[in-house]
């Protein structure tokens, strides 16, 4: 049967711990019917590692008890106990009101503390649904996510998914281009939650625990930023296709606030660092590129343009607290365009995001209202993007790259606004 250890933080003595090479952690409670195939897939992946090593699988508390012994459906001679050892760890309570699929800084903190206690060389963090719905995430791909930090080649391996052109747009329009521009690493999923971190990341990710909890609220684990700040090595691993997590019941403004808000906070903390970064560079990327075979979804551009136009007429006064006149003028012109001819320039969008980041820092308006004001603008950019993708047939990846480059070329605007936030701006 699987070897089981219950590791209580306070009781564990380092002298009792067998050195662990790799800690694999499931970052959210899996359901009973996914845990067994998940473990089986991990078992296979472990066998493909470059060098044999001791692997401990950490499951959220209670989950580990659900693993029957022997695991049903497994070959009887599968050497589970030899390859994987199990521990459970207390999964921190999610932040109230947080989007369920968002990574949680306190979870990483708990995992890093556990990894330090285990003297692990690396920790691979995985979602919960490896066993079902993720046929494309093969054991070979999982191995790619287990190797880099064990071998000491990298300190952070972030996931790279193939997505549909109209999926993951908050990431494509704000998170990726903005983090890339700020910190210089082209990490395409800065908030991906299937990843690997080396022991060099454990200390900084554990450190937040001692800080005031109110200051930690609403924070997200920007691992690539942590790594970039410490000059650690980052890579990406292609993990195949991924359908977006369900957004049912999630308000768009709220989502913007929960995703972009923490990034804006992070910008304040790391201003001295990102203002030194010029340009960006790719990070080593492993695994074969994949694409979706089924056709992309379509979106109702007209509704988004309507929302933008409504925003332009209702929120103009609020926008004027955040955006300079030249941007407001551009928005006014845009609001007169029909859905078919609607086109928001990337430079305009990048400057809008920069101005909102600045307003977030300066608290020009209440932060909760800030993202409400950003929502119609975001819809405007999405509408523009969707029209362009449909009309020109340009590859989404190429289009996002183009946007990211524009973010980079507009970075001096951000710097000048950030350094001297004078309202008397053109």
């Amino acid at each position: 049967m699987a070897e089981m250890e219950t590791l209580q933080e306070s009781k564990t003595e380092s002298s009792e711990i067998v050195p662990t090479d790799l800690l694999i952690a499931i970052s959210a409670p899996p359901s009973g019917d996914t845990i067994v195939p998940t473990v089986a897939k991990l078992e296979q992946a472990c066998k493909l590692l470059s060098t044999p090593c001791r692997v401990v699988l950490a499951l959220p508390a209670e989950t580990a008890q659900e693993i029957p012994a022997p695991l049903p459906g497994m070959e009887p001679n599968l050497p589970v106990a030899r390859a994987l050892h199990f521990v459970n760890y207390p999964l921190p309570a999610p932040n109230p009101g947080a989007i369920p699929w968002l990574p949680n800084a306190s979870t990483y903190r708990a995992l890093c503390q556990l990894a330090r206690k285990l003297n692990a060389r690396a920790c691979t963090v995985l979602g919960t649904d490896l066993g079902c719905n993720r046929d494309s995430l093969t054991a070979e791909k999982l191995t790619l996510l287990m190797d880099p930090a064990i071998e000491g080649t990298f300190d952070l391996a972030m996931p790279l998914y193939a997505t549909q052109p109209l999926d993951d747009l908050l990431n494509k329009s704000i998170l990726y281009p903005l983090t890339r521009t700020l910190y210089g690493h082209r990490v395409e999923n800065p908030l991906g939650n299937e990843l690997q971190i080396s022991s060099k990341m454990f200390a900084p990710l554990s450190a937040g625990a001692s800080q005031d909890s109110t200051r930690q609220q609403g924070r997200l684990p920007w691992l690539a930023t942590v790594a970039a700040n410490r000059n650690l090595k980052i890579c990406q691993v292609r993990l195949g296709t991924r359908r977006p997590a369900s957004s049912d019941g999630i308000d768009l403004s709220d989502a913007l606030g929960q995703l972009a808000g923490p990034l804006f906070l992070d910008m304040e903390d790391n201003a001295a660092f990102w203002q030194r970064i010029r340009g960006s560079h790719e990070v080593p990327t492993f695994g074969a590129a994949e694409t979706f075979t089924e056709p992309s979804d379509t979106v109702d551009v007209r509704r988004m343009v309507d929302a933008f136009q409504l925003g332009e007429s209702n929120l103009r006064d609020i926008w004027s607290l955040i955006l300079p006149p030249v941007t407001l003028l551009e928005l006014k012109k845009l609001s007169r365009l029909s859905a078919d001819e609607f086109h928001m320039e990337d430079a305009l969008w990048a400057r809008i995001v920069y101005d909102f980041a600045l307003a977030h820092r300066l608290r020009n308006i209440h932060r909760a209202h800030l993202f409400g004001a950003l929502t119609p603008l975001y819809l405007g950019w999405v509408a523009s993007y969707a029209v362009e993708i449909n009309k020109s047939g340009i590859a989404a990846q190429q289009r996002v790259e183009q946007l990211a480059r524009t973010y980079e070329s507009e970075k001096p605007y951000l710097l000048s606004r950030w350094r001297w936030p004078d309202r008397f701006h053109p």
């Binding site: 340009g279 710097l415 350094r419 001297w420 936030p421």
Partner: protein, 1109 residues
């Protein structure tokens, strides 16, 4: 023991270096209980304001129990809070709230003296003389002790001693008479002080300002300041902190000259910080005098301090603007300039705030703050100065600068809601400075306010660690109204420029050491023109200032930002290395960066537009990949380069990084490890594979074409029969130029042609001909080649194999050593004038060197003669085939001579143009000669045109083509001739053109000239005094070596029809080749080695003198 230390609120032990300190008095900041006196609850309510302002550390003036006769510096109980300000709990609440906002807190440790109301003093005056209790203070029966100690508060105190009728003795006080000094000769006193210190540090206080530090200990016969015993006390205090606390700081208040303050830093084990008192008045002085000198002078007197120490800088504080640390004249000037009303003066200083001192001029306020925030040290702001608060000179003592903080335009300036009469001090109320005009609320709403400006400046300073931690270097523009300095730390470089004048000012700075960097104005992120070698001009508006961050040049930045790492699945994933994003990175980033850095890359001055991997293929025997790279330049031209590459991982990769970093093209990542892609000529296995390709006539396919090896007939004889692998172990040659050499044991040498062109390489062609057909013995035997074939082009030679000839170095090196000895021997002697005249008058080839010359340079001259003979023999061998059209001689046609003439004219015109452009940059001893040559340009060019030889007999044949001393090897007493490749920068067909053999002769004669003068340059760099005496010796050597060479050459070639038959035609033709070569050298040196320009200039001048005057 670290675990036992109590942590501070700051995580960085050097936090104070990056801090922005804000000095405030609790009583003056905010009153929460409306009793008219500020308190901790009021301060608590203003923490958000301070956080928003951006300051990082709050310095609280004394808030302890006190009779308040010196505004709290007269402490009656160190362990309690004055009831007017709140309770100890209130302080703790404030402290925690500050820490929650990442604000550190500094309090006062006033331990030079206490209040006379302190229990220690009350006890002491009653205690018997000599008792420990009595000895807490300094007593004397007379007021004559310590007479050399000055009186500090001259306005109020007449003596440092005051009679105590109860103790019946005098007690010592350096300040007010109600502030008796503690006696540190009593160990109990230090114990008490440490107890007080621990009390506050245990609570979490981050820093202690130790008041009046120089006066702790007194000794007769001294001025009782800065005594060694005082430093001993401070070291004990510091040791206590270091032993028990982390990240805490001591700030010393020592109003002294910098050299006297320096000991308070000791070896970084006494005080962490100290105020820089003398700088402060000098900033005002410099501003008023519009002259940077007061500032630069005092900074010049400021000694370096340990790395863990820091100066505290300030414009104003709670005391008067002290003028103790200025000269009498300077003090008089400051009084006249800044205190027109005598009420503004107190003690030895001026009791005014910042804004009134500067006549409320916003630009002056900004200018001084810009200096404060960019000078090396930690800036300290005095409360209210961030909004430009005024003062009240009608209040007594220094109370005029301690009025309530002006928060709003409401009653009592928003400081308190008490009735105005209850306020501890009236608020400032006049029309200019009053709270209705100047207050926080109004300025918060005004984006152009001083408050917002200060907030932005503070935020900006915090982005750059260089301000707190960097070195300072003053620039010295001729305009002294401009203060300019560089701050530099790690990779941050900031240029700060300040105009101290009320009018616009120009200035120019020597920034040549930052050549190529781009200044970016830091406030608005505005890019300025790039820095060059010329003085950098800046114009500043009245009281203007600039902070310019120096960025690396855009080229460097672009390189840094380019992607340079390749990703592959595993160490054998070659195919993926040249596909998709990896191929893109190679072509767009890696190769354009790597190639120009290689010695063998020819077109360094020509910017690359693109590189393309035109073909590549893996050699069968191992992982070596042969690559052909096409390079296109911005000019539209293109080249092709040959680059064998290999990959290494793990230790092998690390070793390459350590031992041969130049070999690495890029990092290669695979999930299992990090490796490098590198030049395969650094890999012995790859070198062996190349040798085997030739020896075994191997052929393998590339993506487009194929590669094959072909051995010569001589190769079997060159490979040892016995253990060939062992005796042919490969080593990469160190002397890389346009090609790369690989030595195989002591038997073979392989030359990789880095810039291969379609067609047979002349080195191979001539080597093969001379070895296999003409059987000329004085060259290395040709061993074989590797060729690249594709259907579109002629075969391209990639590598050539030759036998390795044991030698004593090349001819250039050998001759330089001879010349070194020659100059060494004759440095003190003089060349007889007739010797030089004789040599100069002789026609080339007609005479030999004089006996005098032979006596002095015999060995070299013998060698020159041998070389002349071998050169002639080489020419005869090259002309020996009647059947091979590539080698059979042809007549020296009129068309050829016409082309030659045109080529020389063009070369001369290019040289003149370049000389004119670069004239100003030439060395002094060269510029005169260059100017002379330029002044005769028209005449000389006309002369060149008139000197043409329209016809001559003689023949053209294949020649060496790039013949000089570096192309021959000294082998015992003979020479072996190398490298028939021709001038690598020229196209193959040009290099294979037939010329008169005199072209090679001219090349070697110019090389003798170069050797003579280059050796002299080297020699006289060590002994410049000998230069002029040795110049005739250089001339003699050059002329004699040339004569010997020519004489031997002519004897050996005599009887052939290669040269023109008449001596004058030979002379004219040789002169033309010499001129062509000398102009070529001139262009080369002007572009590459300006220090060597003198040599070809002299050569051109001498030739023109001979030929055209």
């Amino acid at each position: 023991m670290n675990a036992l230390k109590q942590a501070g609120s700051a995580l960085d032990p050097l936090w104070y270096k990056d801090a922005i300190i804000y000095e405030l008095h609790v009583k003056a900041f905010a009153d929460a209980n409306n009793d008219g006196i500020g308190d901790f609850q009021g301060l608590l309510g203003k923490l958000d304001y301070l956080q928003e302002l951006g300051i990082t550390c709050i310095w609280l003036l004394p808030f302890f129990s006190s009779p308040l006769r010196d505004d709290g510096y007269d402490i009656a109980d160190y362990l309690t809070v004055h009831p007017s300000y709140g309770t100890l709990e209130d302080f703790q609440t404030f402290l925690h709230a500050a820490h929650d906002r990442d604000l550190q807190v500094m309090i006062e440790l006033v331990v030079n003296h206490t209040s006379d109301q302190h229990a220690w003093f009350q006890r002491a005056r009653l205690a018997p003389p000599g008792s420990p209790e009595r000895d807490y203070y300094v007593w004397s029966d007379t007021d004559e002790k310590y007479k050399d100690a000055r009186i500090i508060f001259t306005d109020t105190e007449k003596s440092n001693w005051t009679w105590d009728p109860i103790a019946k003795a005098y007690y010592w006080h350096r300040f007010f008479s109600h502030q008796p000094d503690l006696n540190y000769d009593n160990p109990l006193v230090l114990e008490e002080v440490l107890h007080v210190m621990r009390f506050w540090l245990d609570m979490g206080v981050d820093a202690l300002r130790i008041d009046a530090i120089p006066y702790l200990v007194e000794r007769d016969g001294t001025n009782c300041e800065n005594l060694p015993e005082t430093h001993a006390v401070m070291k004990k205090i510091r040791a206590e902190i270091d032993a028990h606390y982390e990240n805490r700081v001591i700030l010393a208040e020592a109003n002294q000259w910098p050299a006297d303050v320096r000991p308070y830093f000791a070896d970084g084990d006494e005080c962490h910080m100290a105020f820089h008192f003398p700088l402060m008045p000098r900033m005002y002085m410099a501003l008023r005098q519009e002259d940077r000198l007061p500032i630069t002078e005092i900074m010049a007197q400021t000694p370096a301090i340990p790395d863990n120490c820091q100066w505290g800088l300030f414009l104003r504080n709670h005391d008067e603007l002290t003028l103790e640390m200025v000269s009498d004249d300077e003090r008089d000037y400051m009084y006249l300039a800044y205190s027109a009303d005598p009420r503004m003066r107190i003690n030895i200083g001026i009791r005014r705030r910042l804004a009134p001192l500067l006549d409320n001029n916003r630009r002056r306020i900004e200018l001084l703050n810009s200096i404060l925030f960019s000078f090396p040290g930690t800036p300290i702001l005095y409360y209210g100065d961030e909004i430009g608060m005024g003062d009240n000179i009608y209040l007594g003592d220094r109370n005029g600068v301690r009025t309530p903080m002006q928060w709003t335009a409401d009653r009592n300036a928003g400081f308190s809601r008490s009735v105005p009469a209850k306020l501890y001090s009236p608020v400032v109320m006049d029309p200019i400075w009053g709270y209705e005009a100047i207050n926080v609320e109004a300025q918060q709403g005004d984006s152009s306010s001083l408050l917002n400006w200060m907030r932005n400046l503070i935020a900006l300073r915090k982005l750059f660690r260089v301000f707190g931690r960097g070195a300072l270097k003053f620039l010295n523009p001729s305009n002294r109204k401009v203060l300019a300095y560089i701050r530099e730390a790690d990779d941050e470089i900031v240029l700060c420029v300040a105009n101290l004048s009320r009018f616009a000012q120009p200035a120019q700075f020597d920034l040549s050491e930052y050549d190529g960097m781009v200044p970016v104005e830091m406030l608005g992120y505005v890019e300025f023109p790039a820095i060059g070698r010329q003085p950098y001009p800046v114009t500043l508006g009245p009281y203007g200032f600039l902070w310019l961050e120096l960025h690396p040049s855009p080229d460097t930045a672009a390189v840094q930002s380019e992607d340079s790492a390749l990703s592959i699945a595993d160490a054998f994933d070659w195919k993926n290395l040249f596909q998709d994003s990896n191929l893109r990175k190679l072509q767009e980033s890696i190769l354009p960066t790597y190639l120009p850095l290689q010695r063998w890359f020819g077109n360094k001055s020509n910017p690359i537009r693109s590189t393309t991997l035109s073909d590549w293929g893996r050699m069968n025997s191992n992982g070596t990949i042969l690559c052909l790279v096409r390079v296109e330049y911005e000019t539209g031209n293109s080249d092709r380069y040959f680059l064998p590459v290999a990959m290494a991982f793990g230790d092998a990769a690390r070793k390459l990084h350590d031992t041969a970093p130049a070999s690495v093209l890029s990092t290669v990542f695979s999930p299992a490890g990090e490796g490098v892609l590198y030049d395969a000529t650094y890999d012995p296995r790859s070198c062996e594979a190349l040798l085997n390709t030739i020896a075994n006539s191997t052929q393998f396919s590339m993506q487009q074409g194929s590669v094959h090896g072909a051995p010569s007939r001589a190769l079997p004889g060159l490979i040892p029969q016995k253990s060939p692998k062992k005796s042919l172990s490969p080593v990469r040659g160190s002397a890389e130029q346009s090609n790369t050499s690989i030595l195989f044991g002591d038997r073979l040498i392989m030359k990789l042609f880095r810039h291969p062109e379609p067609g047979l390489n002349p080195d191979c062609e001539i080597g093969k001909f001379l070895t296999e057909e003409a059987r000329f013995p004085n060259i290395p035997p040709f061993g074989g080649l590797i060729e690249y074939l594709n259907q579109n082009d002629e075969p391209t030679t990639l590598c050539m194999l030759q036998g390795l000839v044991a030698n004593q170095g090349d001819g250039w090196k050998w001759m330089l050593e001879e010349l070194e000895r020659y100059y060494e021997n004759y440095a003190k002697e003089t060349v007889p004038a007739e010797e030089l005249e004789r040599e100069a008058a002789a026609a080339p080839g007609t005479t030999r060197a004089s006996a005098f010359a032979c006596e002095h340079a015999g060995v070299a001259l013998d060698a020159a003669a041998v070389l002349g003979r071998r050169t002639a023999e080489m020419h005869l061998a090259l002309a020996s085939s009647k059947t091979n059209p590539a080698f059979s001689p042809e007549p020296l046609s009129a068309a050829y001579l016409e082309n030659l003439q045109a080529s020389i004219n063009a070369q001369a015109a290019t040289a003149y143009d370049l000389l004119r452009k670069t004239l100003s940059g030439l060395a002094d001893d060269t510029v005169e000669m260059a100017a002379l040559l330029l002044s005769h340009r028209t005449r000389i060019l006309d002369g060149l045109g008139a000197s043409n030889i329209s016809s001559a007999d003689g023949q053209r044949t294949r020649i060496h083509g790039d013949y000089h001393l570096g192309q021959v090897l000294r082998v015992k007493t003979d020479f072996v001739i190398l490298d028939f490749e021709g001038e690598p920068a020229r196209p193959l067909d040009v290099r294979r053109t037939k010329h008169s053999p005199l072209k090679d002769v001219a090349g070697m004669l110019r090389s003798f000239n170069y050797a003579a003068w280059a050796a002299l340059m080297k020699y006289s760099s060590r002994r410049p005094d000998d230069q002029s005496r040795l110049e005739p010796w250089a001339q003699l050597w050059d002329q004699s070596a040339s004569a010997e060479f020519l004489h031997a050459y002519k004897i050996a070639i005599d009887g052939s029809t290669l040269l023109p038959s008449s001596l004058s035609a030979q002379w004219s033709l040789l002169n033309l080749y010499l001129l062509e070569k000398a102009f070529y050298e001139l262009v080369y040196e002007l572009n590459s080695r300006p220090d060597w320009v003198k040599i070809p200039l002299m050569g051109v001048a001498a030739l023109l003198q001979q030929g055209f005057q």
